[in-house]
Amino acid sequence: MLRVLQDLFRYNREFAIGTILVLIVLSLAGASFFSPYPPQDSYVVPPDVPPCWGHPLGTNSRGQDVFWQLTVAMRNSLLFGVAVAFLSRIISLVIGLVSGYAGGVVDRVLMSINDTFVVIPLFPILTLFYFMMHDHMSWTLLALAMASLGWPYDARLIRSVALSLRNREFTTQSVFSGMSTWQILFGEHLPYVLPIVLSTTMNNINWSIGLEVTLSVIGFTNIETPTIGTMIYWANQHTAMVAGIWWWVLAPVATVTMTFIGLFLLSVSINEFVDPRSRLVRVGG
């Protein structure tokens, strides 16, 4: 396994760049545990200082060090994104595999439910959900809400793969050899489905962070917790772009771009690696 990774790193440039970017982001998030300033406090350092030695990314109008705020923000946003992606993967995997394999009535019912969720406008439901909860709204609840709304696209994708797998020879063989449905689904089919799941996970992390940013910009999340979204929210509150405090906006945007590109490159290169034909193309065959 380690050999494979090493080879990938050495020969596949996309994998290399992706890994480096993701490692940078992860170490940023990890650095948050060493922050010298309590993350929720404001006016701990002089405000609006451009990047310099003492403050590598400058300070913002709230008197916080942008670099250390960024580390905490990255950690929270990543945790949030991964949690949402993880939870919604589970749902979409189960529904997609079962639906594609079982076919018939089960498939139709599940896909109807799926389509209903596709069709419901996400934004108004989330805002309404926020108002229903208001006092009890927390990041966990928001993650659960978004996970329960973010699975339908990928469930359909997984289902189409499962559909094609159903008719393959090895499936019929497994059925004849007496494997249970669950064994077939998760023993035989899962490995085929995983590459798609990987790339959709990256998409999903990006989607959930993006939605979190949208909601935070409008102020619907807990604005005292530093996340990428709330950093941008506060920057807008202080009209940072017009006031010339560009480093406050650039830092979270650049970091989230790095995260996205890194995860994307990783998933693309893993996808390519797993599919033997494209691996051949890379080698030049």
Partner: protein, 652 residues
């Protein structure tokens, strides 16, 4: 069939690539040419058909109007108040200015003199002006006033219907110029319903509304106006409204002061605060209603033609509203005055001012806003009393008032802001305020301990043993400066050992506060006339007869649900005297002293509005130093007085 569709689509897409290089080049050139042409086009005609130097462009803080074609301002949830309708189109009996007024604080607008009451305030007589005409040529008479009151009393879902129903028994017009109100109960301030402080009961045109089958369903489009402007055109999507000066402007009440300068006035929705700054830098927005402190500082730095109410720091106009920490006095932990005072002594107003307004705040320690003429009536006379005010904790005696708090804020800002910060003590008092309470954790500790609170480790505990925690409600991004203040205050309480946090509640904020379902909130329950010292505008509603029990909605404005028999006595005494009686100021001062002793809310500062005016196309705006003749904030109906003072700027 199937092949044709995909084939054509894909062919179009791909086939365009090869000659694409050539086509792209040509496209690029023509695009650039088009854009340069567009540049010229955009600069020349910001408003189609109206020369830029004939129109005053102001911000409507309501943003985009949902009910955009609706001009019936008398229905709740009508279209808009401040799209120019109440500022330029409406008129009523009297106006009180938040500042000095063009010719004194009080203006008899449609009325020709002040109201006359009988001896026990159960009857009010009004004399009206002559020669005032509606924009369609019909003369304004007392019948319009009677119609306004009677129609709204018949339809209590109209805005002033409930207010009239509560007070008016009968209204009659003995002749064309006189209106007589017979009241249900003595009300020495009944006239305030018709006295504009931001808005008031506007007069309806009888000859238009009596033709409508149902006044609550009539859209009044286009509006027939009594003010000096009529509606020229508007956006069906509610983004802009353009008003035009009436040709017969001499037949309106504003004509007493001269001809309105701008031929056209446009009220627009300029979007987020960043965009407002950009638009004024482009000279496409003459009056910004409000922006962030940072936006204000950017404009001050980059645009020499833009100025605020003050020439220098803090630039903003202090509106006669008093943001404070509203404590819910019906919540168990806040019932004890010692606890409330302790919380006040933990707040460092300098840090709060810096965090919220970047220092551009006008602080106030007492329960009236430091604006308009109030320094003369309330702040200067009470300064000595405040300096000598003493708290007795049982263990020690302490004088909490620090008269130099505002001075210290100014001193903190001077190194970075230079001579934008005044040095003259009088100017500092006008701009930054006077004193505030000195933070003292030791005294706060003694007060809390006397109230039965205990400190366990780093955490304070209530008398019943549970942790002392406070949730401070803030409005969120609808009111960013107040949100920042709240965040800083919660942080200071936290540093002391109280489990304090803020909660942003952007949409349903005031109804939530009214419901009583909160512990503390950063809001305001004090709003005053500004120019006139009478406090009944807010104080009357603080009487305990209006106090609701916990769980029921509290009517405005006693959000803190405070009740005190001494307060009731003061209010009843005010009710018994006339509006201009000088004893009113004495009673007002007694209220202030009582509020200091009891600390039902913790007053912070005035509501500073960063209204920025651009002198590129128009000059003559009100300003604190040169001519404080009205409130520059353009959504106040009082800004109609700006129109006569504005003159076209000399073109460079």
């Amino acid at each position: 069939m199937k092949s044709v569709t995909t084939k054509s689509v894909s062919y179009c897409l791909a086939a365009s690539f090869v000659p694409a290089k050539r086509v792209l080049k040509r496209l690029a050139f023509s695009l650039v040419g088009l854009l340069f042409g567009a540049h010229a086009f955009a600069q020349a005609d910001f408003l189609a058909g109206i020369p830029r130097n004939e129109v005053l462009i102001a911000e409507n803080p309501e943003g985009r109007i949902t009910n955009s074609t609706w001009f019936n301002i008398w229905v709740v949830n009508h279209g808009s108040n401040s799209n120019g309708l109440q500022q330029l189109g409406m008129d009523t009996l009297w106006y009180i200015d938040a500042d000095a007024g063009i010719d004194g604080v009080w203006d008899n607008s449609l009325a020709s003199e002040k109201p006359t009451y009988n001896s026990d305030f159960t009857e009010m007589t009004v004399k009206l002006r002559d020669g005032i005409f509606w924009s369609d040529g019909v003369e304004f008479t007392a019948d319009d006033v009677v119609y306004t009151v009677e129609t709204q009393m018949k339809n209590p879902s109209m805005v002033w219907g409930p207010a009239f129903l509560a007070s008016v028994d009968r209204v009659t017009a003995p002749d064309k110029r006189t209106v007589v109100f017979k009241l249900k109960r003595p009300n020495s301030r009944f006239h305030s319903l018709f006295t504009v402080r931001w808005n008031a009961a506007w007069i309806m045109p009888k000859h238009i509304f009596e033709k409508a089958p149902d006044p609550t369903k009539f859209d009044f489009k286009p509006p027939v106006t009594l003010g000096p402007y009529t509606l020229k055109s508007f956006d069906p999507n509610g983004e802009w409204y353009i008003w035009q000066r009436r040709d017969d402007w001499q037949r309106t009440t504003l004509a007493r002061f001269g001809e309105p300068g701008p031929k056209y006035v446009a009220y627009i929705d300029p979007g987020p605060p960043d965009k407002r700054v950009i638009m004024q830098l482009n000279h496409e927005l003459d009056i910004i209603h409000d922006t962030t402190p940072e936006g204000m500082f950017t404009l001050a730095k980059q645009s020499p033609s833009s100025h605020g109410w003050f020439k220098g720091f803090p630039y903003a106009h202090p509106d006669p509203t008093l943001p404070a920490v509203i404590l819910n006095n019906q919540v168990e932990m806040f019932k004890n005055r010692d606890v409330r005072w302790a919380l006040a002594l933990l707040i460092d107003i300098k840090a709060v001012s810096l965090a919220s307004y970047r220092g551009a705040a006008t602080i106030s320690a007492i329960g009236v806003p430091p604006t308009g003429l109030y320094p003369k009536y309330y702040f200067d006379p009470l300064e000595d009393w405040l300096k000598n005010f003493e708290i007795d904790t049982g263990k020690s005696k302490y004088k909490p008032y620090d008269p130099g708090a505002a001075q210290q804020i100014a001193d903190t800002l001077r190194p970075s802001m230079g001579n934008q910060i005044p040095s003259d003590p009088k100017e500092i008092a006008a701009a930054f305020g006077r004193g505030w309470w000195k933070p003292n954790p030791q005294v706060a500790t003694e007060l809390l301990e006397r109230a039965g609170f205990k400190k366990s480790g780093n955490q304070w505990l209530k008398p019943d043993g549970t942790p002392f925690s406070i949730t401070l409600l803030v409005e969120g991004d609808q009111r960013p400066v107040m949100t920042r203040a709240g965040t800083m205050i919660a942080q200071q309480w936290r540093q002391f050992g109280i489990d304090a946090k803020t909660q942003a509640y952007p949409s349903d904020f005031f109804p939530r506060v009214a419901s009583g379902d909160y512990e503390a909130a950063l809001a305001w329950s004090v709003e005053t006339w500004g120019g006139h010292p009478d406090l009944s505008f807010f104080l009357d509603s603080w009487h305990s007869e209006f106090l609701k029990p916990p769980g029921e909605r509290q009517p405005p404005r006693n959000w803190q649900r405070w009740s005190n028999p001494q307060l009731d006595k003061i209010i009843e005494q005010i009710r018994a005297i006339g509006f201009d009686d000088p004893k009113g100021v004495e009673l007002g001062q007694e209220y202030i002293k009582l509020a200091v002793r009891e600390m039902p809310t913790i007053p912070l500062m005035s509501y500073n509005v960063f209204t920025v005016m651009d002198t590129t196309y128009w000059t003559g705006y009100p300003s604190a130093e040169k001519d404080p003749y009205t409130n520059p904030v353009p959504n106040w109906a009082n800004t109609k007085y700006m129109m006569v003072k504005l003159k076209p700027a000399a073109q460079k």
